[in-house]
Symmetry: C2
């Protein structure tokens, strides 16, 4: 008997997802460096590393610390860090227990990083069309030179093709990723840099990854899947490993209310999403409104006390809302995993 609402991970599905992506990426000759911000759980990182991942990707120093303390030996912080004195000290300490690389996307940031953490490995971030951080591939060389001059070790370039998150967007994003990484790699090599890594990847664009660009990929969501991936056609509902168990608490002619809201499902809703999440066993149902503790569901006849599995829109933000997840296998609770890096935003 699981108390609702609760985040539940189906271990068989999880392990299948980990193995399938590891095999698919290896078959293409790419390195896999999964982004663990999706799960924040060292036990899952261990499964990914055992399946052949070359290391892990994180977004913050805090996440890197948690995973390094739990055995991750090779960590890429895929973020353009701007270090305070305290963060610089933490990053220097982190390098004593793991191989660490970070992102950089300006000459000023490179000088700031180099002064704080001499010898640190960096990858120059390029913008492949998502228009977040990262520079045009034509601008990588001065940044790499500033990094080298500041005492950093430039090992390559990276990009996040986040514009893959939209209907029919995967192929365009994958092409953008390839073009940006090829251009950045050529520019760096021409300028005399030894380019060891060209890193890309996102779960939506993964299957569309084009040959000749990335040497490694950093998908995150593939371990669990979520309603966004389902609605974008990148995951079959049978491969969704994480759901939020919820109970019907109120029934009306046109809707029922579940005891799960944005404080456990997250508030993500892309413009193209059909609702605030899906119900795994009821593909015709829609969550048409979401409060902090209420999900309003239409399109399925449910009764008071019924328990359903909600597929959240964006799983990365769900895991960050709970201290632990329940691990089930064939419907039985097998254990609990602490979300060890929850809330490690800095």
């Amino acid at each position: 008997m699981i108390e609702t609402p609760a985040v539940v991970v189906d271990r068989d599905v999880l392990e299948r997802n980990v193995a399938r992506t590891a095999e698919a990426v290896a078959a293409r000759g790419l390195a896999l460096r999964p982004h663990v911000k999706t799960h924040k759980i060292p036990e899952i990182a261990a499964l990914q590393l055992a399946a052949g991942a070359v290391g892990i990707t994180v977004a913050t120093i805090g996440e890197a610390e948690v995973f390094a303390d739990r055995g991750a030996a090779d960590v890429f912080i895929a973020y353009p860090l701007w270090l305070s004195e305290a963060k610089a000290a933490r990053l220097r300490a982190l390098r004593d227990r793991a191989s660490v690389a970070v992102g950089v996307d300006s000459a000023d940031a490179a000088r700031h990083l180099g002064a704080a953490v001499p010898g640190l490995e960096v990858l120059v971030e390029v913008d492949s069309g998502h228009h977040r951080s990262g520079v045009h591939p034509g601008a990588v060389v001065p940044i790499a030179q500033a990094a080298r001059d500041a005492g950093l070790a430039v090992v390559g370039a990276f990009t996040f093709p986040g514009h893959s998150y939209g209907p029919d967007a995967a192929a365009v994003a994958a092409r953008g990723e390839r073009d940006a990484l090829v251009a950045a790699g050529e520019a760096l090599r021409t300028a005399g840099f030894d380019v060891r890594v060209l890193s890309g990847g996102s779960t939506p664009s993964l299957a569309a990854t084009e040959d000749g660009g990335a040497t490694e990929v950093r998908p995150g969501v593939y371990v669990f899947g979520d309603a966004q991936q389902w609605e974008l056609g990148h995951v079959d509902p049978s491969d969704i490993a994480l759901t939020v168990l919820a109970t019907v608490v109120s029934v009306h002619d046109d809707r029922v209310i579940l005891d799960a809201g944005s404080k456990i499902l997250g508030a993500d809703r892309a413009a193209w999403a059909t609702g605030h999440g899906r119900l795994l066993e009821h593909p015709g149902a829609r969550i048409t409104a979401l409060s902090e503790h209420h999900a309003t569901v239409t399109g399925v006849p449910l009764g008071l006390g019924d328990v359903v599995r909600v597929v959240p829109n964006h799983v990365c933000n769900v895991v960050n809302l709970v201290d632990e997840v329940l691990v089930v296998r064939r419907g039985e609770v097998e254990g609990r995993w602490a979300v060890a890096a929850r809330g490690r935003n800095s």
Copy 2:
């Protein structure tokens, strides 16, 4: 030196907000029972109670437990609970240390509650136009009778006028709240019930509350304010007490990137919001995109390393993302408050 990103509460502004709303509600002859899901912090509940609140409102048994253990003597769980055996046992135990009332919106739920927690006080939930949980005011009597027959103590009715969350929506929501509570109260009295409480209220509708309806109000967000309240015109930016301190980590011709994303700002974005949050000191700036650790800001010239105060769209979900908030007074860190009820979703 505060490490970013971090949630910061300005104590002077907070105390002013607590006092101002307490006075305004008292001047109208209404009881104030603030919803503490907004802050989840016992120290803030203590300020509210010291300013005259008659009790507190929570959304879950878990929140009620945390606040009762920290001195809250009178707790309304404004939610249509459907009790598992474990939840029933917790609710019975809670009644040993606090006065507790809960919501009910069907005869079946009333019978279920009555069997689990005999003598429990309940308020029938009515729908005043938000169309979430709650019934039409014309349907309250059979529910109240079922509750009485099941051994529950019916003390009144409540509604949440959540349709106040929209441009120019406050007056309509306040009118709907009044009409629903008047109708529910009259129906219950006519059927022989002693109606002690008619409970309404939301921060957007508070100033528009109409006389003759609610006897108590349950606003939550007023303690902090947020970008939603700012954009709806219900709070002046100078009265916003909670912000997320963030650092500029990447600068481009048309945008800058902050080190705060949806994992600390929350992913809430109403259709009418102008972006994913605002910058307190830069009202012309907009957060045009939000990832988990990146906020993309346009409309303000900022440089690498600049620190800004971000006003999140929906503050209730922000506090639920962090273990503690920094308390500042006149720019100096005075202490830290644990978010004691963070993640208490059940």
